[in-house]
Symmetry: C2
Subunit: 136 residues, 2 copies
DNA sequence: ATAATATCCGTACCATACTACGGAGTCAAG
DNA sequence: CTTGACTCCGTAGTATGGTACGGATATTAT
């Protein structure tokens, strides 16, 4: 069983120690076990959770949203409906994000292609075509 | 030709007037024309740009990144290579985002399905499987 | 065994992205 | 023709998500 001190796990995921303490403070990360010296000790499940947090942040989710995503689990039969409801909401949001990112991808590919072919300049913003694809 | 006062265009895209003034201050939005009273007057191209900004923000891009995306245009042949380079970078980032969001989508769909079938509880976080998909 | 490095904690500071305030001028409706 | 809503501007305050500081212990390397 692999264990990490705070500096080790922080380095592993590319954040710094203070940030990890901050995540603990706001309850995004659970309080870890301590050894006699009061040093924090993390295990692989902490590493997994932390990796998710870091990547979800890069994907543009707020810490609050990440917390909600991590809370999506069926703990008692009574909360099953709630979980489903929230998950459907998140799913909807994610589908829209994917769709809009796909539009951006298309535009960027077109733009790169134009650049490659040394086409003549335009004074417009190609990226704004994303909006044209989306609205009307 | 449709024209808007600051309050009208702000309402149209769902931000408030101060935010729009802020975007102008940081040069994310261009300085608009003024009528005699010094009131700002916006047109449809401003609306288009503003809609892009708002959605890109929701997608998790910072205002700086949005500025870069909006600056991606071929103005002189000399900048063509630069534009291509930046666009390729952005494209790469966007592709990775889409891929990870797809993972999340799969997990959420599975979770919703489990909820629908009233399956038994688990004390784990289903969403963390996203990480398992990514790191072998 | 002692120096360098890591961790502890609380608190203060920082950047980004707004949001509110307040006094003055402008415009539109009754 | 005035009253209420809108806009002007600068400046100050707020929320989120960290980052830095600094003195005290703990651990590790030489």
């Amino acid at each position: 069983m692999e264990l990490f001190k705070v500096g080790e796990i922080a380095k592993e995921v590319g954040i710094n120690v203070e940030t990890l303490r901050y995540y603990e403070k706001i309850k995004l990360m659970p309080k870890p076990k301590r050894i006699e010296s009061r040093y924090r000790i993390y295990d692989v499940s902490d590493l997994r959770r932390l990796r998710f947090i870091v990547r979800a942040k890069e994907l543009g989710f707020t810490l609050k949203e990440i917390h909600e995503l991590l809370s999506l689990k069926i703990e008692k039969s009574s909360t099953c409906g709630d979980v489903k409801h929230i998950a459907e909401h998140k799913l909807d949001d994610i589908k829209k994000r994917i769709s809009d990112l796909n539009s951006m991808q298309n535009i960027l590919e077109k733009l790169i292609d134009q650049c490659t072919n040394e086409e003549l300049s335009t004074d417009v913003c190609p990226i704004l075509e994303v909006i044209d694809e989306k609205f009307q």
